[in-house]
C-alpha cells in the first residue's frame, strides 16, 4: 500500500497523459509515476487548505472495492465531494491507480490496458463516459448509494474487465439507478456466489435485450417509478430463465427485509 497526495492534471499534464495513453510506450508505468508528481503537469487538490491523501491499494481488483474505497473521499461532505465532476482529477487518478490495477490483474500491461483509450481517459460523451475504469465503479456506487447491493450487477466484476452488463446498464442513465438497476442485479447477479450468473450474455434475455426492452417501453411507461417486483412481472417471456432465478433471490431479499 502506498499513500499519495491527490492531484489533478494541469492542461499540460492532461495533454501529456492522453499522449502517453495513446502511444503506450513500454515504460508507460514508469513515465506515469513521474508525471503524476510533476509540478508542471499536476496541481495539488486541497480541502480546507490541506492536501488530501489517498491510499493506493494493490489488493483491489473488484469494482465494488474500488468504489467503496473512493467513496471514502468522494462521498457526501468528504474532502473530494465537490470534485466529483472534475475530469482532470479522474484522469489523474487513472494514472495514479494504473500500476496497482495492472499488477492486480495478473496480465501484461498492454492486455490490461485494453484497446480503447476511454478506459483510462474520461470521455465527455454519453456513449463512452461509463467506460472509464476508475470513475465508472464509483459513479455506479454513488448513484445507488442507498443500497449498493442492489447495484451489484455494476459492481461485481473486475475493475479492468467490467463486462457486458456494465456496458449495457451503466451506459444508460435510466437503467443505471433505482429499481431498474436492482432488477438487472436480480437477473444477472448471483448473490450466493457473489459473481455474475454464468451465461448471462447469451440470448435470450441478455443485457442487450434488457436495454432494448426498456428503450421500447420508455415512451409509454414511467418504469423508473415502478418497484422491482412489478418490473419483474413486466418483463416478457424471453427473460424467463433469468426471472426464475431472480425470483429466488428476491424472495431471499424479502425474507431478510430488503425493500
Amino acid at each position: 500500500m502506498i499513500t499519495i497526495d491527490v492531484r489533478r492534471w494541469t492542461t499540460l499534464g492532461q495533454d501529456r497523459f492522453i499522449s502517453l495513453i495513446r502511444s503506450r510506450p513500454e515504460d508507460l508505468l514508469d513515465q506515469l509515476d513521474l508525471l503524476c508528481v510533476d509540478s508542471d503537469a499536476t496541481e495539488m487538490v486541497t480541502h480546507n487548505g490541506a492536501p488530501v491523501s489517498m491510499e493506493i491499494l494493490p489488493t483491489i481488483k473488484r469494482r465494488l472495492d474500488l468504489a467503496r474505497h473512493l467513496d471514502g473521499l468522494f462521498g457526501p461532505k468528504l474532502p473530494l465531494a465537490t470534485h466529483v465532476g472534475d475530469v482532470r482529477l479522474w484522469n489523474w487518478l487513472s494514472a495514479a491507480w494504473m500500476r496497482a490495477l495492472v499488477a492486480g490483474s495478473g496480465k501484461d500491461l498492454q492486455k490490461a490496458m485494453g484497446v480503447e483509450d476511454e478506459r483510462w481517459v474520461l470521455a465527455s460523451n454519453i456513449l463512452r463516459y461509463h467506460r472509464h475504469l476508475v470513475s465508472s465503479p464509483y459513479f455506479a456506487y454513488a448513484a445507488n448509494r442507498e443500497d449498493p447491493k442492489k447495484a451489484m450487477c455494476l459492481l461485481a466484476t473486475d475493475v479492468l474487465a467490467p463486462g457486458e452488463v456494465v456496458e449495457r446498464i451503466a451506459g444508460k442513465r435510466s437503467l443505471s439507478t433505482g429499481a431498474v438497476c436492482h432488477l438487472a442485479t436480480l437477473l444477472y447477479y448471483d448473490a450466493t456466489s457473489g459473481a455474475l450468473r454464468p451465461g448471462h450474455t447469451s440470448k435470450p434475455g441478455n443485457p442487450k435485450m434488457f436495454s432494448y426492452f426498456f428503450s421500447q417501453i420508455d415512451l409509454t411507461v414511467d418504469y423508473e417509478g415502478v418497484g422491482v417486483d412489478e418490473l419483474l412481472k413486466l418483463l416478457p417471456s424471453n427473460f424467463g430463465r433469468w426471472v426464475k432465478l431472480a425470483l429466488v433471490d428476491r424472495a431471499k431479499e424479502l425474507a431478510t427485509g430488503v425493500g
Binding site: 492542461t11 492532461q14 495533454d15 457526501p76 465531494a81 465537490t82 466529483v84 465532476g85 475530469v87 482532470r88 465527455s124 460523451n125 454519453i126 463516459y129 461509463h130 459513479f139 448513484a143 451503466a170 451506459g171 444508460k172 442513465r173 435510466s174 443505471s176 439507478t177 433505482g178 415512451l219 409509454t220 411507461v221 414511467d222 418504469y223 423508473e224 417509478g225 415502478v226 412489478e230 413486466l234
Partner: protein, 258 residues
C-alpha cells in the same frame, strides 16, 4: 417525406411554452424552479408530475417527484445535489397516471434546457455555450444531443471570447451556423426537442425551405452536396442580416483612425 408517427396510447406531447424552468447553483446543491400550465389538458388530478434532470455528456441523472398535478397549473422548487455537468442540465417532464400498478405516461416533454439564473446575458441564446478548460483550440462546436459551443478556459479566454471580443462573433458565428445546418440536415434528430425545434425555426426564418430539415434523412450524394451549399447560403444570409462584415470593418476603421 415527412416523418409519420403513430400514437396508440393517447400520450400528449406537451409544449415548450407550457413549461418554464430555471436553475441556480447553491454550494454543493442545484436549485431547480419549474412552472407548468397543463390545466387545459384533461389529465386526472391525481396524475403525478415527474421530472428527470440529466447531465448531457455524463450518465448523471436525478429523478424528482413533484407531486400530484391537481388543477394543472403550478410551480415547484426542488433542491438536489448538483449534477456533474451542472450548467448543461436538460429536463424531461412527464405527467404520469397510475393504471392498476403501472404508471403510464399521459404527457411528456423532452429536451427542456432550463435558464441559468446566474447568466446575465441580455438574451437567452439557443446556442448553448460552455467553458472547457481542457480545450486546446479557442472554440469547438460539438454535437451530442444538441449543438454546444465550447470555448476554451485557458489563459482566461472564456469570458473574453463570450462577452468582450468584438471579433469573435462576426468571424466565428457564420461558420457555426453553417455547421449546425449541415448537422441538422444530414442527421436523424428528434425535432420535438425544444432546442432543435428552435433551430429549425431559426433556419426557416433565414430562408430555409419549410419542412426541409424535418424530411427523411436518406439523402443522395447530390443532395448532401446541396445541403452544404444551402448551409453556406444561409450562413451568408445570417451574416448579412446581422451586418457581421460591417461590424468587423467598423472595428477595423476605428482601429485605423485611432
Amino acid at each position: 417525406m415527412a416523418k409519420v408517427e403513430f400514437n396508440y396510447t393517447g400520450r400528449v406531447q406537451l409544449l415548450p411554452t407550457e413549461v418554464y424552468a430555471s436553475f441556480r447553483l447553491d454550494g454543493d446543491d442545484q436549485v431547480l424552479t419549474l412552472k407548468w400550465t397543463f390545466s387545459h389538458y384533461s389529465f386526472p388530478k391525481t396524475s403525478k408530475v415527474i421530472v428527470e434532470v440529466e447531465s448531457p455528456g455524463t450518465t448523471d441523472v436525478r429523478r424528482l417527484d413533484l407531486g400530484a398535478l391537481g388543477d394543472g397549473d403550478r410551480s415547484a422548487t426542488e433542491r438536489f445535489p448538483r449534477l456533474r455537468n451542472p450548467e448543461l442540465i436538460r429536463l424531461r417532464v412527464k405527467v404520469v397516471e397510475n393504471v392498476d400498478v403501472l404508471p403510464m405516461i399521459r404527457g411528456v416533454l423532452d429536451g427542456i434546457y432550463p435558464l441559468d439564473e446566474s447568466d446575465n446575458s441580455k438574451s437567452k441564446s439557443i446556442l448553448k455555450i460552455v467553458r472547457d478548460d481542457e480545450l486546446g483550440v479557442p472554440w469547438q462546436l460539438r454535437f451530442e444531443e444538441i449543438p454546444v459551443l465550447y470555448l476554451t478556459g485557458r489563459r482566461d479566454l472564456f469570458v473574453y471570447l463570450k462577452e468582450s471580443s468584438r471579433e469573435f462573433n462576426p468571424t466565428v458565428l457564420p461558420e457555426i451556423v453553417s455547421q449546425i445546418f449541415e448537422w441538422l440536415a444530414l442527421g436523424d434528430h428528434d425535432f420535438d426537442d425544444e432546442i432543435l425545434g428552435q433551430w429549425v425555426i431559426f433556419f426557416e426564418a433565414l430562408g430555409c425551405e419549410p419542412g426541409f430539415l424535418e424530411t427523411s434523412r436518406t439523402r443522395t450524394d447530390d443532395e448532401v452536396e446541396d445541403v452544404g451549399s444551402r448551409g453556406v447560403r444561409l450562413s451568408e444570409e445570417f451574416a448579412r442580416r446581422f451586418e457581421l462584415v460591417e461590424s468587423l470593418a467598423g472595428g477595423s476603421d476605428e482601429g485605423g483612425g485611432a
